[in-house]
Symmetry: none
Subunit: 389 residues, 4 copies
């Protein structure tokens, strides 16, 4: 057994997501478990160098997690030939420039989503990476959530018969911050358009790959956004005007072979949750239905379907919730980010397949962009196929 | 105390809805309770004559419910000056002609919905009735469902603060009829476009008055229809092609004073129910939220709102269902159709106010019509104000 | 980042409250967490010296909690210029003299309640501290209980509409000590008037700040005390005559803007608990009600209010408990004493605001004093405003 | 066995209480069961004549309950020597005049409470009845509620040891009538001072006999009233100003042999119920405690008393509700009003003892009167003993 060390330049891991999901629960956890096993029996171990602006913060983080290398100089880091991978979790509007430098330095590149601020920019990164012959990937964590994996299990098994429709509900109440000593539980930039905030740009990139990889290609989109809460209080206690959309009411058309599926989604940070989980996908098919969440997934086969009759003169005699049955785990579900990191490290080290590439990243950006355009133009828009190459 | 007898010509009460809701649970029940009390202390009692094509059916029905008069000749019935009210629950495409004859005979007219097959036709009936000086009304039963009345109670009490959005879910699985010895629980004409079937034409008329009278005027609509189940088996066991839309995915804009509310609705006869009731309206406001069904209505005030945090690495620690509290009845809720009948009878006998007139009926037809057009043209459509007069 | 060390002279921390709440759960815990963060990014760390009469006890305590300094000589300790804060948790009748010495030595002073044995004495301490320019504070721990903080959240959010009334219930059965091998769970001095015991002098100081800071100024008081249990057994097994009031039945008037709130409280150590918690405040307002305890807080909005009807002929058909809904934590609630210590240390180190000063302490003493007077004179007494200065 | 027929002139039984409790559930029920058994084996059967202003109403009522006699002329009725009992459930301000006429006609008199509008007037009726040698009684229904009878059972058994204190809570939310289509569940006159409304005048008469006959003589009273809800909507939909007290916060001193008991009561029609029943009396004694409602009564003996310790740092580890144990019925409890009617009829027919006489009625009026005075004068008032004679 050979141990291959993969140097990974990690940029932007002092932020919440970068630190928790990518550094601690992925890279540090992979090192703790002794690396990623490769098909030939070898093992790949990531050796990170943390890049950021605040050296004290970087050093404190590195020390806590037993990491040797930190730097505030990305350019210098990119010159080290032992570091073959560049990872980017910086702010969206800085990403394209960083990624281009990394590609120019011959690094394989892995990124947080959204890949870029426009479809054109994302496609440019895709073409540059392809031309440079480096490997490239973008985070699509929700595909690896236990609930979504169980849903995929149902689709693959033919459980649904012909799939008819998907209802998606996402969101919860993000506190305004101005009462009851309850600060907002998400960063304030998410609610300011100028800072890149907004539900559509954040979540439509997710819905694209979840739908594409679970049901079929998204071929058309209609979207109405809203800024429900007009004023919020930020991290320092200052009131600010919320300018980004905090809710999106969308409909998608999906092509699955000869069939067309309709998916209606609402996504909101101004909704009080009346569901089992923060995200739920309700799927109906001719032979059965399912409701998948982050972790759970329950089904109702058509032979379990109650014969409901409309009669408001009496209290509803049926307990509709009792007709659903939980799908068992039958597996241990690891952290979603870590699973994808393992796939990417194996892809780099042993050339195993990896479908979550920059072309996929561009498709996510595209759906956000078309969602915004649909809102402005108040009409359905077709989703053009992005060229491979 | 004077007892006023109101002769009512009831046309089309051998059908399911007409018989159960209008004849038995409304007119017969009103007679059994001794009539409708009027503001001046008098009482109005309806004296029905049943009109239909099948005299045997009519006679059997009349005998069972202690009704003296039946006829197969509408023209003759309309000539009786003692019968001042004409009620129509015939097929939609027959309604306009019947109603015009009744108006021409000077009858007050009360109808099932939809009032007509097009907005133009509905508006023509409205203008004719106005010109003739007769009273007119259309069924808007869902306004009188216990759950919707409680929801209205919440709106009136200011519970919601500023209302942000409404999520509507309606429907259940209507069996295909071709397996498991489980015939469809709704008449087959509902699934044939040529017979006037279809979700949009059936339910958008309801959503119009529910939204208008609970939240504010519907000002724009977007809709995507679908025929999810392609083939069904009818009452006589014959397979037929389903040509009407059996599901509708709509979005509505509502104007409430200065505020705009977004309402996203899905309505489907091809959905397996994952809710408490067959119809649910989830309303979010700045100060609280509610989920109203046919009979129940539960609320969550903002002080009860849990601080949800996205963390798919652990099972959801919050039981979101536990944060909702049922709104008590605090009243006895009578049959929805009967309540509206009592209002119409009192309107005729004592000129008490009645807001559910033909103009309202035309607005219902209008929303269905615009919903179909939006589907064809794949875009949002404004809802023009229909003229009063 | 600078670390500021604040020397704290802690007098009277060998007693139960002083040791558990002030030393262990506050000062020791603050040291363990690395101090109190200040607004400018610095950190303040308390460095205690323990003062008492019994050097052995002091040394044992210091060793257990890793504290370097103890002394039996308060005068010497007050001469150390590095110790800028004096804390007093000695017996009430010793407090004023200690505090005066500390003020004369230029120390900032923080005290347990009651601040003094009379309003005059408390006001004298207030004026001395102001004149000396030292900072001063008095414990008002119940304001920081989770249940009371949630209640304040409700008040701030406008949940109640106009607040009408408060019902307060406090207490539990303090065992007499003379049967069942069940010694009393509170020190015997609490039940002897000469030793400063008594419900009114103990708890009215608490009710004052809880009411003042949650609802509005207490403007009048009526009180009836009682000594329900006449004889008790002390720590050494000796029977003694209980001379202090062990229960108080009071009513308070509160001014909240233009509105008047009535608060009726019973406080008793001779009551068997029929509540969720040892302290409960039931608040009724036009739009909603709440019942707050030490940790929990449940609400009933007016839209959830059942329509109760008096009918003793049948068992009560309503489950009144089911109409209440728990307010979620939505925050981590630290120890109440520690929170206030952090505020006082930050007040000393960085001049951040601190509202719990000696003037507040005097107001607490005042309400106890007026409560006793009202009992003697069997009449309502107005609560005069104490001068600021 | 002889059957004695007792003619009863019933005045004011078209009102809610008079009709339901006195006519239907008492007199009609006693007739249906074949009368009241007397000590000597005879039976007394009441033969009512209904007196009122609206003859139609009286006739309808009489017919429905199989009663032969009605009249609109009280004077004529009083002349009939066969009717030996006069019962009065008219408005309070009409009662004294009616009762005087009845006494002058030599009738035994039984009355609803309050007996009169002032203590002087009530005492005058008492002296007149005594002088005339007629029997007299006043309704004290709450003594016959199952819960209060069980409480009395506990007192008589010595369960409590020495009784220390009573906490009384009465009331519920009476809807304002102006929102949510929820009319008030009590008549509007109760909230207008000029019409004799008010909590103190209504309920203190009840508290007097409940306390007197369960614990001991009420010797002093302190009371603060309030009109919490300022505006209400009456039976005809008109908004009116609420001028009567809708809540009373009182304290009573009770003498029980050598012991003094303190009773603190709140009574409110503006409270949301957080109890098991609409009325609850919590009694603490040295040996045990009880909580009695309208029907239930639960106890906690001192050997079941948990040792509560104040520790807000952890969730309360005790379930205080679990330490209470329900007192079994061990009897069938008949309607409270009917029981008292049976006692009065037996008192008239067979001279059995009857303690609920006009002197008792005067004591009830007295406590209401002193409660109002205490509120005005903001002080405790002694309750003078009313002379017997």
């Amino acid at each position: 057994m050979t141990v291959k060390t993969l140097g990974v330049i990690m940029n932007g891991v002092t932020g919440r997501m970068g630190m928790n999901q990518h550094l601690i629960r992925s890279i540090v956890a992979i090192r703790a478990q002794g690396g990623v096993p490769l098909p030939n029996g070898d093992v790949a171990i990531p050796d990170p160098i943390l890049i950021g602006r605040n050296e004290n913060k970087l050093r404190a983080l590195a020390e806590q997690y037993d990491i040797d290398r930190v730097s505030t100089d990305l350019g210098e880091a990119l010159e080290n030939p032992n570091d073959s991978i560049y990872f980017d979790a910086t702010l969206t509007n800085l990403r394209a420039a960083n990624v281009k430098r990394a590609i120019a330095s011959g690094k394989h590149v892995y990124c947080e989503k959204p890949l870029a601020i426009s479809t054109d920019e994302a496609m440019e990164l895709y073409r540059l990476a392809q031309a440079a012959g480096v490997k490239h990937g973008v985070v699509q964590d929700k595909l690896f959530l236990p609930g979504i994996r169980k849903l995929r299990r149902l689709v693959d098994s033919g459980f649904f018969g012909r799939i008819l429709s998907v209802r998606g509900e996402f969101g919860y109440w993000v506190f305004e911050g101005d009462w009851g000593n309850q600060p907002a539980q998400r960063p304030s930039w998410n609610y300011r358009a100028d800072d890149g905030g907004g539900m559509i740009s954040d979540m439509f990139a997710h819905w694209r790959y979840v739908l594409d990889h679970t049901f079929g290609d998204v071929t058309a989109v209609q979207c109405m956004g809203a800024t429900h809460v007009h004023e919020r209080v930020d991290e320092s206690g200052r009131t600010y005007k919320a300018t980004a959309d905090d809710a999106a009411y969308g409909t998608f058309e999906i092509r699955r072979g000869e069939d067309r599926i309709i998916a209606q989604f609402n996504s909101s940070w101004a909704v009080r949750v009346n569901r089992d989980e923060l995200l739920e996908l309700h799927v109906d098919g001719t032979h059965g239905s399912a409701v998948a969440g982050l972790r759970g997934c329950k089904i109702q086969h058509r032979v379990n379907t109650p014969k409901a009759v409309w009669n408001p003169d009496i209290p509803n005699p049926l307990d509709f919730h009792a007709d659903w049955q939980e799908v068992p785990d039958n597996a241990t579900f690891d952290n979603a980010f870590k699973i994808q990191w393992e796939k990417f490290l194996s892809h780099v080290a042993a050339d195993t397949p990896f479908i979550h590439d920059f072309h996929e990243g561009a498709k996510g950006v595209q759906l956000s962009e078309l969602g915004m355009q649909s809102w402005r133009e108040r009409r359905w828009l077709d989703v053009p196929t992005l060229p491979r190459g």
